[in-house]
Symmetry: C2
């Protein structure tokens, strides 16, 4: 087991891989005031990263940038030992190839001080299956971001069987410190949480296209003009909490539970046992906290109004004078 | 077959059922300048509807209200024939109970002029299975809204086997005229489109809670602070179009296609045939139109910045003076 430095003592971070995800992380770390060292074997890595940082910087300046952030505080290296020199944390974002990750982790383990935590951006591999060739397995954890990492707050943090609790704690504290919304998982689940949910939706969409049941455009619009307008404010659970009216999730499950048997997706539902029902109801009540159903509805509505003004989604054109006086229904 | 009135000649609409959905429709129709007649057997229907309209009116005034909209232009009736008198359109939003819908449709069919289209808010029944006891089956169509119907633009329109093309056309034109975002489906698919997608996500979430893999709060936050921040701007298809970098959906499917075999959800994926791959790629290119990948990225980023300012999602507190000068990483 290693003694990790306090997250606030870190000044330099190494990004291993500078593609869409690794480059996005580099831009974010720069905006948070860190010096960034990049390892990437591509001869055009530096040029590509400069473009990515240029594109991301204005958005970062609006949301997460700290005073003194230096857009140019980065360097690209092709030697791994050189790339990790002085780094207090390493974020790995290499291509999703298990053998490649295993070899890379072994190389990283050999050149990094054992006191450095190594976080992986993997979107689906378990740390237990990736960290098989390393000596200091305790400091390897998953820190899974979402595209683009410089704008989406979510980071899923989970360790493997050989990761230390201390390293997982450290990574969660570090990502939280730099402004991320951290979900710390206790167990390794393939796809983590958010990817399991969006992958279920994506697979259902592919089935529908495959069967000629919907077009790409219809699938996208069914989300952007429908449920997608609610999800930034309330996730799927609180959304259905509101679908139950004043009775909330309890009413929803007790009355619409049988619809789980409907063939509304290719995904078979779990049995709605009393225990599952009670867990879901209790979770919604806990998440709602002091907010009543009416409070949540007001919150959702205010959010949707502002969001629809933003996206212009479904905003009706203003009726012309002749139309607005002649008939109801507007333009 | 019936001759339906031109949508612009309608001045009165009947809402059958005034719960969360039916009441939401009533508020929306009022905001669009219609007179609304409500049929609801509950003795507290009027009182409940008044509260719902009061709550919805300010949001409606911000987005969809036409000049001259009258918040009080509604009446509640317990006699069905009286409720539909003078109505040019009927929106049915009774509880999701197939026998009840069948009986109600027979009753509605008997009291409504054959020239009146009847739209159903059903969230999952096919019109073919609901309109079994009616004479004028041609004018019954599904017009499925999303909660709350006074704010979410999406309406899915689809007919049953005995619905006329003319009635489906009419309903699509009518909902479009009143400012809705209409998806017109050619085939009856259980759960339509958006509910199939959100139901897949919901079932995956229930499995995760059932197995102790995630809590209700983690599931919601994995969406609100993650993919949910992208979906109001780009649906799941265009989102993955961007995950492919400059190569778009073609690169995404050609390189990440094998991940469809990963156990990232309980939903089995379809075989990624060349035909399916080509359909998805062509659909994304068509939907993107003139917009390049860079345009789409800029659009997404501007949207997420504005949305995160709106929700406060993951916004880091401003670093204090001492912290911001002392160390990188901010507060």
């Amino acid at each position: 087991m290693s003694a990790f430095p306090s997250p606030q003592d870190i000044t330099t971070i190494t990004c291993v891989g500078a593609g869409t995800i690794g480059g996005g992380w580099a831009a974010y770390f720069l905006a948070r005031g860190y010096t960034v060292r990049v390892w990437d074997p591509s001869p055009v890595a530096g040029e590509r990263l400069a473009r990515l940082i240029d594109a991301a910087w204005p958005a970062l300046a609006e949301l997460d940038m700290v005073d003194g952030a230096d857009k140019d505080a980065w360097s690209v290296h092709t030697d791994l030992a050189e790339a990790v020199a002085g780094a207090g944390f390493v974020q790995e974002s290499a291509p999703e190839d298990l053998d490649l990750k295993r070899r890379l982790f072994a190389d990283l383990d050999a050149v990094c001080d054992p006191g450095v935590v190594i976080g992986s951006s993997t979107s689906g591999y378990a740390m237990t299956e990736m960290a098989t060739e390393v000596t200091h397995a305790d400091r390897f954890v998953v820190g899974h971001p979402f595209n683009p990492p410089y704008l989406i707050p979510l980071v899923e943090v989970v360790g493997g069987e050989r990761s230390s609790q201390e390293a997982v704690d450290w990574a969660a504290a570090f990502y939280t410190r730099i402004g991320k919304s951290v979900i710390r998982m206790d167990r390794e689940v393939p796809g983590f949480i958010a990817n399991r949910l969006q992958e279920a939706l994506w697979r259902e969409a592919l089935h529908m296209i495959d069967n000629g049941e919907a077009t790409v455009e219809q699938i996208d619009r069914s989300i952007t003009d429908g449920p997608g307008l609610r999800w930034p404010f309330h996730g799927p659970m609180l959304t259905f909490h509101l679908a139950g009216g004043e009775g909330g999730m309890a009413h929803m499950l007790d009355h619409f539970g049988p619809s789980l048997k409907s063939p509304w997706t290719r995904l078979t539902a779990p049995e709605l046992t009393q225990a599952l029902r009670d867990d879901v109801v209790a979770g919604c009540e806990e998440e709602s906290g002091e907010r009543t159903i009416s409070d949540l509805i007001a919150e959702r509505d205010a959010g949707i109004v502002a969001l629809r003004k933003l996206t212009g989604s479904g905003i009706s054109p203003a009726p012309t004078a002749s139309e607005s006086t002649a008939t109801p229904g507007g333009a």
